[in-house]
């Protein structure tokens, strides 16, 4: 009777099956968590990357605003610009409607982070302007 009892082998196989079944359940849970984490990471990465490109690209934004301000349409507006490390302040005390439309059209259609804006009508065709852009 030294040979192994078949019942023990059967129980062993059942336990083995149960062990791997539990392992599989754990692994499936882990995989599910990993999938969620991966998708979350990917979403955060893609969003952050796109948002950084739009709102945290200092050199690109600096270049763009300077390019806009160099446009001849704005010459008559005598725009003052104060550049700091964290952004730019643009102001004009006498801006005609054409220049205002051009400048605001460009600023609003570009992904600048506008932190302050003041447009005040001073006459039918003239206005004052003050804009702060942060980068």
């Amino acid at each position: 009777m030294n040979r192994l009892n078949p019942l023990y082998i059967g129980i062993f196989l059942l336990l083995l099956l149960l062990f791997f079944a539990l392992k599989l359940i754990d692994a499936k849970k882990e995989l599910h968590q990993e999938k969620i984490l991966y998708e979350k990471t990917l979403k955060v990465s893609l969003d952050t990357s796109a948002l950084k490109k739009a709102f945290a690209n200092k050199e690109k934004e600096k270049k763009e605003i300077l390019h806009i301000l160099s446009n001849p349409v704005l010459k008559s507006a005598r725009i003052k610009k104060e550049m700091t490390n964290s952004g730019i302040r643009i102001s004009s005390q006498n801006m005609d409607i054409k220049a205002l439309n051009f400048l605001m059209g460009k600023i609003l259609n570009t992904t600048f982070n506008i932190t302050m804006l003041k447009i005040k009508r001073i006459s039918e065709n003239k206005s004052t302007l003050e804009v702060k852009i942060k980068w």
Binding site: P6, G10, L24, E30, E34, A56, L108
Partner: protein, 307 residues
């Protein structure tokens, strides 16, 4: 020193008429001829494994209904074949006080005692004799000179059998089938487990690759904080552009004019001059889902919208 490894177990003859015994150590059991069927046959086959396949048919005419196990060994040119009922032997062992866990090996009287000469008393009624090379039991009254059987000095053969404790419930083949099915399912689950952990590891690697590709901060908490901050800026800037766009396109009455648009990082302020009735403007804003704080004073309507 090595006595622990010696296999000098006590040997007993298991017989239906024996007195119950008290066994606490391991023993070898020799089955009495009344517990098995035996035949000596010549067959035109070379190997024992070929004989094994034929065993059920060899005994099919003589065995009563039951679940039998079979055993065979070769002796000279003949095969000695056995049929025995596991359940019956196990039950008898239980009746006689022998636990299967105390049994080291089980042998047939045929394989262990066929060499003996003379007659040996087995119980009150029967005697063991060898006739034509077959160990048999005969009534006590047939034999005049009877010796006592001494089994402890007996050198046992290698023809030990293993009793199938569940043979009467399930056939051996069924056990194998169930075992195979269990093993197969276990194999599938094991495979699936390996694939799953591999997939999880691949995803973890891909996640690390995403961190490297997008130059992310070391922890997700930091990245989520950056993401939340940038998202907040994005939403505010989009709203600012949407609301300014709306005010610039707004249909105002003939003498109404926007005189001021201001934004101070939180609040968008719009001042409209020449307003006699603010209701229309406020309703238009509500329809657009813009909630504004309004103040009308001296035909000047001040709208403050928190972004």
């Amino acid at each position: 020193m090595f006595t622990k490894f010696k296999n000098n177990y006590k040997t007993i003859l298991l017989d239906p008429f024996m007195e119950p015994v008290q066994i606490e150590e391991k023993i070898n059991v020799i089955l009495s001829p009344s517990l098995y069927w035996v035949k000596k046959i010549s067959l035109p086959v070379k190997y024992i494994r070929e004989v094994k396949k034929l065993l059920p048919s060899i005994f099919e005419d003589i065995l009563p209904e039951g679940h039998y196990s079979y055993y065979v060994y070769k002796e000279n040119d003949e095969y000695v074949v056995f049929a025995y009922e596991d359940k019956m032997i196990l039950e008898l062992m239980a009746q006689k006080g022998i636990s299967p866990s105390n049994v080291a090996n089980i042998y047939f009287a045929q394989s262990e005692l066929s060499f003996m000469e003379g007659a040996y008393k087995v119980n009150e009624k029967q005697t063991l004799v060898v006739k034509n090379g077959i160990v048999i039991l005969v009534p006590d009254s047939w034999i005049k000179e009877v010796d006592t059987l001494k089994l402890d000095d007996l050198k046992l053969s290698k023809h030990a059998v293993v009793l199938q404790q569940f043979n009467h419930i399930l056939k051996k083949s069924s056990f194998y089938k169930i075992g195979f099915v269990l093993l197969f399912i276990t194999g599938i689950i094991f495979g699936e487990w390996l694939i799953t952990i591999d997939k999880a590891a691949t995803l973890a690697d891909q996640r690390s690759a995403v961190f490297a590709k997008y130059n992310l901060k070391p922890t997700m908490m930091q990245n989520q904080a950056i993401h939340a901050e940038l998202s907040k800026i994005y939403k505010k800037q989009m709203k600012l552009r949407e609301y300014i766009g709306y005010f610039l396109k707004m249909h105002l009455a003939k003498n109404e004019r926007i005189s001021y648009i201001g934004f101070d990082s939180k609040v968008l302020t719009v001042i409209i001059k020449g307003v006699t009735e603010s209701k229309k403007i406020i309703e238009a804003l509500k329809r657009k889902g813009i909630h504004a704080k309004t103040q009308l004073k001296n035909s000047v309507l001040t709208l403050e919208i928190t972004l």
